[in-house]
C-alpha cells in the first residue's frame, strides 16, 4: 500500500522552480498591453469629448477644475483593461464550494459594464479555485451536524467583543485545542484572518523596532507592518542571503540616525505564498533568527492543514520544533472550512495579546457554529474523533498535489512554485489570454481563478489552481484533459524544458528519467 510521505523526513529535497519568461512571450505581452493602452487613450478621449457615453465614475461638473481624481494609472487600467475581462471575477456561486460547485449564469450586453442573470444555474462545475485544501467545505457530515447542534444551542450572533461578554466556553475549548494541535503553549482565535495580521502586528512591534518582511507578503502583513510604525525593510523573495545581509546591517548599524540598537527585530514570512506557490525556507530562517537574536512571525494561512505528514503545517513539514517560531499565525478559512484566524505562541505572549490587541478589544468574537466547525475539523485531522478520515484526507491532498503538478509540467506549461505546495500557478502572461482562459474553462465546466495586475507583476499574469483532498482522480483527469485542450487552443505551453514522463511503477533497471532540451 503506497503511502505518500509529505515531509516526514528533515533532509528533504527542496524542489522549487520559477522558470524564466521566454523573451518572445515577454515582447508579445508588451505589444498586447501597448495596443490596449492606445485604445484606452482613444476611448478616454471619446468619453471626454462626449462622443461615447461615460459609464464609469467621474467627478461632478463643478469639480472638473479641481485636481483630477481618476487620472492615475490604476484607474486608467481599471476603466480600459480590467473592464474588458471583468466577467472572469466576482462570479456568483449558489452551492457549497466543495469539489463541485453550482454557478449562476450571467451575461453582459454592454461589454461588462453591467451584468444580468439569465436565471439558469450551471451545475457541477469542477471547482479549482476555492481554498478547500482538506475538503471540509461540506454541507453533510460530522462537522455540519455538530455546527447545526451548536447553532440551535447558542444561536448565530455573539453580540459582544471577547473582552466584554463575548467569551464563550466554546472559544476557550477552541483555543486549548488549537494550542494542542500546533504544539505551542497557548493560542488565541479571532473572527477574521486579515484582521488577525493587521491588528496584532501593531500590538507586537512599534516605533524603534525593525520589521524584515518578504517581498511578496500578503496585504494583511503589509498593512499590519505599516500600521505599527516600525521601520520596514524588504528582502528578496525566499532569498536567505538577502535576509542575512539585512540582519547583519541592522545589528551593525542600528537605528538610522541615533545608531542605537533596535528594540526588536521581527521577520515576517508566510508558510506558502499563495501567488507563487512557493514554500518558505524555514530551517534557514530559524537558523538565522537564532544567530542574530531576532523574532519570527510565521503566517501559515495556506500551509496549515495542507503540509506536513499529519497536517500541522510547514513546521512539521520540515521536522522542526514549534517552539522555535515565536509567533505562529494561521487562518481557519483555508483548510478547516470556516472563517477566522489564530495566533499561537508562549503563554506570556498570548496573555499580552488578549489585553492589548485591537482585534481582541474591539472586534466581535467568532460565531459559535463557526467555532464548532473548526473544533470538529481539527479533531478530525488529529484523529481524535475515532476515524482515520483526517489522515486519509491529508494523504489524498499530497497525492493530488504531486500528480497534478507532474502532469501539468509534462504537458509543457510553465508552473511556478514548490513541488509539494497545493497552490499551482500556471503562467498565462498575455492580457487577452487571461480573459480567454477564464471563459474557455467555464465553457468546459471548470471554474478557475485567473489573476493579473495589480496582484501580480504586469506581465506575469497567471491562472491559480487550488487543489483539494475532495478532488478525486477522475475529476483531476477531466480537468487536466480540458486544460490540455485549452492550452493547445490558446498556445499556453511555453515551457522550453521537456521532461520525459516518469513512469508510475517501481524503479527497476530499465526505467530512467531523461531531460531533453
Amino acid at each position: 500500500n503506497h503511502i505518500v510521505h509529505n515531509g516526514g523526513l528533515y533532509k528533504r529535497p527542496f524542489n522549487e522552480a520559477f522558470e524564466e519568461t521566454p523573451m518572445l512571450v515577454a515582447v508579445l505581452t508588451y505589444v498586447g498591453y501597448g495596443v490596449l493602452t492606445l485604445f484606452g487613450y482613444l476611448r478616454d478621449f471619446m468619453r471626454q469629448w462626449k462622443i461615447e457615453k461615460c459609464q464609469n465614475a467621474t467627478e461632478r461638473e463643478e469639480q472638473k477644475d479641481f485636481v483630477p481624481l481618476y487620472q492615475d494609472f490604476e484607474n486608467f487600467y481599471n476603466r480600459n483593461l480590467y473592464m474588458r475581462i471583468r466577467d472572469s471575477w466576482n462570479r456568483p456561486i449558489c452551492s457549497v464550494p466543495g469539489a463541485k460547485v453550482d454557478m449562476m449564469e450571467r451575461v453582459s450586453h454592454d461589454y461588462n459594464w453591467t451584468f444580468t442573470y439569465t436565471g439558469r444555474v450551471i451545475k457541477d462545475i469542477i471547482n479549482m479555485g476555492s481554498y478547500n485544501y482538506l475538503g471540509f467545505a461540506q454541507n453533510v457530515g460530522a462537522c455540519q451536524e455538530a455546527a447545526a447542534k451548536v447553532l440551535s444551542q447558542y444561536g448565530a450572533g455573539v453580540c459582544s467583543t471577547r473582552q466584554e461578554m463575548g467569551n464563550l466556553d466554546k472559544h476557550e475549548e477552541l483555543e486549548k485545542l488549537v494550542a494542542r494541535f500546533l504544539g505551542v503553549e497557548s493560542a488565541m482565535a479571532y473572527g477574521m484572518g486579515f484582521a488577525t495580521n493587521s491588528m496584532n502586528i501593531p500590538a507586537l512591534v512599534g516605533k524603534g523596532c525593525l520589521i524584515l518582511s518578504d517581498e511578496l507578503n500578503h496585504a494583511s502583513l503589509v498593512l499590519g507592518a505599516r500600521l505599527s510604525g516600525a521601520t520596514i525593510r524588504i528582502f528578496k523573495h525566499n532569498n536567505m542571503q538577502s535576509l542575512e545581509k539585512l540582519l547583519k546591517d541592522a545589528i551593525v548599524h542600528g537605528q538610522p540616525r541615533t545608531r542605537r540598537p533596535w528594540k526588536k527585530i521581527l521577520i515576517l514570512v508566510e508558510g506558502i505564498y499563495s501567488m507563487e506557490g512557493s514554500i518558505v525556507r524555514l530551517p534557514e530562517v530559524i537558523a538565522l533568527k537564532k544567530k542574530y537574536k531576532s523574532y519570527l512571525y510565521l503566517d501559515e494561512a495556506h500551509s496549515i492543514g495542507a503540509l506536513g505528514p499529519s497536517g500541522r503545517g510547514v513546521v512539521e513539514y520540515f521536522g522542526l520544533n514549534p517552539e522555535d517560531v515565536d509567533v505562529m499565525m494561521g487562518t481557519f478559512t483555508k483548510s478547516f472550512g470556516a472563517a477566522g484566524g489564530y495566533i499561537g505562541g508562549k503563554k506570556e505572549l498570548i496573555d499580552y495579546l488578549r489585553t492589548y490587541s485591537h482585534s481582541a478589544v474591539y472586534a466581535t468574537s467568532m460565531s459559535p457554529p463557526v467555532v464548532e466547525q473548526i473544533i470538529t475539523s481539527v479533531k478530525c485531522i488529529m484523529g481524535e474523533d475515532g476515524t482515520t478520515i483526517g489522515e486519509a484526507r491529508v494523504q489524498q491532498l499530497a497525492e493530488n498535489t504531486r500528480y497534478f503538478r507532474r502532469r501539468l509540467k509534462e504537458m509543457g506549461f510553465i508552473i511556478y512554485g514548490n513541488e509539494d505546495s497545493p497552490v499551482v500557478p500556471l503562467m498565462l502572461y498575455m492580457p487577452a489570454k487571461i480573459g480567454a482562459f477564464g471563459r474557455e474553462m467555464l465553457k468546459r465546466n471548470i471554474g478557475v481563478v485567473v489573476v493579473g495586475f495589480p496582484a501580480t507583476p504586469i506581465i506575469e499574469s497567471r491562472a491559480r489552481f487550488c487543489l483539494s483532498a475532495a478532488h478525486t482522480k477522475e475529476m483531476l483527469d477531466t480537468a487536466l484533459k480540458e486544460i490540455n485542450e485549452v492550452g493547445d487552443l490558446l498556445q499556453l505551453k511555453y515551457s522550453r524544458r521537456r521532461l520525459v514522463p516518469l513512469l508510475d511503477r517501481p524503479f527497476d533497471e530499465t526505467t530512467y528519467e531523461e531531460t531533453e532540451d
Binding site: V31, G32, Y33, F39, Y111, P431, A432, G435
Partner: protein
Amino acid sequence: MDLKSTKNFVFWLFCQFELITCSYLMEPWEKVLFYSFNICMVGTLFYTTYACVAAHVSTALQLLWNLLGNQQENAVSVVK
C-alpha cells in the same frame, strides 16, 4: 478534406493573432479600426517594396553590368 484542415489552421492562426494583439477583447468597431490600420500599414509596406526597392535593385544591377561590360570592352580593344 485537405482544404478543410487548411481552413481550420488559418482560422487558428488568426485566433492566435487576435489573442496576441488583444483584438480578442475589443468591441467590433474597435476591431474594424485596428484591422484597417494594420491592412493600411501592410499595404504601404508592399507599395514601398515595389516602388523603391525594385528601382534600387535594378540600378544596382545596371551598375554591375556596366562594370563587367567595360572590362570586356577594354579587354577586346587591347586584343584588337
